[in-house]
Assembly symmetry: C2
Homo-oligomer: 585 residues x 2
């Protein structure tokens, strides 16, 4: 079985890629830049063709102001959204969830209108999209978008059915929002699928603003979903058997008040409970959908007005049979994790303190084993990278920068939870098995996060392996020189700094590559199970009272509820990055 | 009166600066890069001089791993610090402020040891510092560092005296920390003053880690100071006359409990109260000191291993008499602001609801007038930038990137408070004068922040004006060509896109420059007063109950206490940036 996956992000920037032709590319870009400026100006843009020598600057100036304007629009929408979301949580009288939904409906409709306008008008104008960024919107991202998009639409349908049953006592806005959202998801998925790689050249200011609007809308939808999901997960331990700290009453008040309001309202059909449960299980997918869409909108925004040479979309052949041991061990961990997760959820729901403690111990042991194995393999991977002689990729690439930024940024959530746990357990005096395991688990997770981040950052910045490497390296040098004879002396890395001929390393490389692929396969499955557990409701942080005992319950809930969505996204994103690193190894 | 200020950040990157010689510089850098690699390798570094062609890569690899390692060290210290700071606020039993102080003392001592090691050993090694970054550590930053450092040391002395009077009932750690901190401030200020511009070439991994340790220590000290200061400011309204919302009791509990503990302990000398008040007034300076030191450590970290040409430290002549109207109006606003601020503080302290309302109205009107004038002048400045034909600065410059990042990042704090206020006032139905003024003030502040950010970003990215510009522009082109005849055709911006000869614009430029300088002068003083008011304790957000009525008191306190320090820093930083933009205009 052989896969043909497009090469991306960590990938090369040109067929004849080697860091030597970077400066050449800049020059080519500069020339193309000017040509296109003159061309664009002759198509009725603001630039006066007679003043072509000022054209480049005018375009650049427009680009900068558009950049600022769209940034401020996005900033303001997001910062307006935060207090409305907060208000709808903490203040049920003056700021209700209906207000929030109306705000969301307005945003979603506005974004949908822009997306339709972009599809129908902007993208069809002659020479609107001169270039495509081959790194943007790789297949796994677009595939994920469609998958999560389908789940989101199903979630919206369930929500509609649920709220139709309660139409006599709930605001009609609660039905309107899922309807509008489903439409938005369909339109957005289609537009992003088709246009993710576009480098738009016309109407740059409008396009930038539109993309930033799309980004903000998705982030606000994400924020709302995360808040709802977190409140839902935080309600769970608020049952009588939960031995919370004295201050734990506050959050329960809010939610029980909410519940009380809900229980007054009888559903007109029997299926309400089923649909409510079902749509909560689909929340994690909707959350990921919003993030995927945001990431793609951001990359498109970065690519507005970008100029590049087009001919570097070539495929990497990836044979699944190359790797076996890693994925098999990974699958074992995955299955074991799923089994313990199901047992854990069942035992925790039983409200028996003894059962609960056993469930926690089992959960922590499972996690410790998985994370320990992951740390060891990741460390081996880092050592191989350190020994390896392969070139670093240089050059601008918004997709890769975003990947790395999101990875490190998202891992902060999990780091934060771990450090809060470590401090809490240490402050409580580490009594009992559960606390000891909790501490071990948190410390190991911190180590694993550091190692995995280093591994992925290094992996994403490496030159991908090419099967014909030994023959092309020198051919490239010749090609570069022929293409641009004058610049021979000025390329950034002179020819004599080239690595020692790769044939000498070929034997060594193949076992290194094999091990790297195995490691990526193993880590991939491990990250999947570490994603599934919190995404589908495992909250040992609340089932274990140490955190809420040491910190106020509210502080603890805030840390967990803010950190957890990022942690979940981190695991999800790691899976994608590992897939990519594995392909390029 | 004429000032000689060194030109920086937004400044040029070379004497003969014009964007044309960028690529040339890259080449020069590449060559120097190699030369220094070979030189460094002959001084006993890991690189084998015999394998000079692999040297560059090895150095780069070391740089990358050092980069990752130091990043992770900093991340982990910061993330460990957050729960300890949180714990010492919310949990007074298992995590006391003594624990936090012990953690801080360890960090501060470790950092001091590294700073001494760097000064005594690293910086003295032959060829350790081959290059200096002329943009790093400009005079205003180093001057500010010394000024705030002196204030910090005075604060520490006051603290020592205060805690010596209470030694019989407080932990000795409370005296130890200010002693260690004073020493640290003195050592750090000296080292940063002397070495801020260094581009360290040896022991890169150790140096990077040391600089990141310095950065983290300063940020944790900052975080602690901000938390203490916020708690201090939040206590103020917790007096009986404060008509807080029902949930306001919680925070007051925490602080009154703290107070109760404090009042049990009698001071052994009479001056305790005086010194306590005095050191709280010095907190804002200590907070700024930590941020200044962090910024300088970060720029040094970015400059580790950087190679550049040295000869571009030249002075800009700045005549104070060029500008008059702007600074005079700015001073009027400053004096008026100071007067209303004093009246406000006195009236609010009187605990008479009517007086308080009058004080709030006066405060808001003062703010609205200042911010309205600022918005209008900033808008004029933006329009002039838009009309202006001056080149954008390109090229790498960590100082400038940091400036812009900090500016936008810090403004988020104030944005957040404004949007929370807007939503709260709208949700409350905008009743009464105070609410109306509060709403107007918040909306205007949002607009002003957007405009000022745009103005400063644009201003920092402009080519600075040079008095001999008309003669040098063409001389530069010639110089560039002569220096590098082969590259004529490949410079990024070909010669024919040069601006129209500047003599034609000279008349126009001079009034534009004059207006820009006036605007910067005016905005500078306005930002000073907007810094002074919150930094020295004006908290209309708590004196006005609308925020804590609509949101929970805790949410509101969290938003204000997190957003305010950033807002204060933003105003401070704007002053510095405006000074720079004014100089370069």
């Amino acid at each position: 079985m052989r896969w043909h996956a497009p090469q991306k992000a960590s990938g090369s920037y040109s067929c004849s890629s080697n860091s030597h032709n970077m400066t050449t590319k800049q020059d080519l870009e500069a020339i193309e830049n000017q040509i296109s400026t003159i061309q664009v100006s002759s198509h009725g843009e603001t630039v006066n063709p007679g003043l072509a020598h000022g054209g480049l600057k005018a375009v650049e100036k427009g680009r900068n102001w558009g950049w600022l304007l769209s940034g401020f629009i996005s900033l303001n929408i997001l910062l307006l959204g935060i207090p409305i979301v907060c208000g709808s949580v903490f203040n049920k009288i003056q700021i209700t969830s209906s207000h929030l939904l109306i705000f969301l409906i307005l945003l979603v409709i506005l974004t949908t209108v822009w997306l339709v306008y972009y599809k129908i008008h902007t993208s069809r104008v002659y020479r609107a999209v001169l270039y495509k960024d081959s790194h943007a919107g790789p297949v796994w991202l677009r595939g994920g978008l469609v998958l999560f998009g389908v789940c989101s639409v199903i979630m919206d349908i369930f929500k509609i059915i649920y709220y139709v049953g309660r139409i006599h006592c709930e605001s009609p806005v609660k039905i309107a929002f899922p309807v509008v959202q489903a439409l938005f998801v369909i339109v957005q998925t289609y537009v992003l699928w088709v246009h993710a790689k576009d480098c738009v050249q016309i109407q740059q200011i409008v396009t930038r603003c539109g993309l930033m609007l799309t980004l903000s809308t998705n982030l606000i939808v994400w924020m709302t979903a995360v808040t709802e999901e977190s409140l839902h997960q935080t309600v769970a331990p608020a049952n009588p058997s939960y031995n919370s700290s004295s201050s734990g009453g506050y959050k329960i008040d809010v939610t029980s008040q909410d519940r009380a309001g809900a229980s007054d309202c009888k559903c007109s059909h029997d299926m309400c409970d089923v649909f409510e449960k079902a749509y909560y299980y689909l929340y994690p997918f909707n959350i990921e959908y919003s993030l995927f869409a945001s990431a793609m909108a951001y990359v498109m925004w970065k690519n507005v007005g970008r100029q590049m040479d087009e001919h570097h979309s070539h495929n990497l052949h990836f044979s699944l049979w190359d790797v076996l041991v890693g994925p098999v061990f990974g699958l074992i961990i995955l299955v074991a994790g799923l089994a313990t997760f199901v047992v854990y959820e069942v035992d925790v729901a039983k409200e028996d303190p003894k059962k609960k403690e056993e469930a926690l111990i089992m959960h922590y042991i499972m996690n410790i084993v998985a994370i320990l194995l992951m740390s060891i393999t990741t460390l081996i991977g880092c050592i191989i990278f350190r020994m390896d002689k392969r070139e670093q990729v240089s050059g601008k690439n918004p997709t890769r920068s975003l990947d790395v930024g999101l990875l490190v940024g998202a891992s902060l959530g999990q780091f934060l939870i771990c450090y809060f746990t470590i401090v809490a357990v240490l402050a409580s005096g580490v009594k009992g098995h559960v606390n000891g395991l909790n501490l071990t688990n948190s410390i190991l997770t911190v180590i694993q996060l550091c190692l995995q981040n280093a591994f992925l950052i290094k992996g994403l910045h490496r030159e991908p392996f090419r099967e014909t490497e030994t023959t092309t390296v020198f051919a490239n040098v010749v090609a570069v020189r022929e293409r641009d004879p004058e610049r021979r002396s000025s390329s950034i890395v002179p020819a004599h700094t080239l690595p020692i001929p790769l044939t000498l390393l070929q034997g060594q490389l193949s076992w290194q590559r094999r091990i790297l692929k195995e490691i990526c396969g193993f880590l991939l499955f491990c990250n999947v199970i570490l994603w599934i557990m919190p995404a589908f409701g495992a909250r040992p942080q609340f089932d274990n009272s140490v955190g809420s005992d040491i910190f106020e319950f509210e502080t603890w809930a805030a840390v967990v509820n803010i950190g957890m969505p990022f942690g979940i996204f981190y695991r999800m994103h790691s899976v994608a990055s590992l897939f990519e690193v594995g392909l390029a190894s």
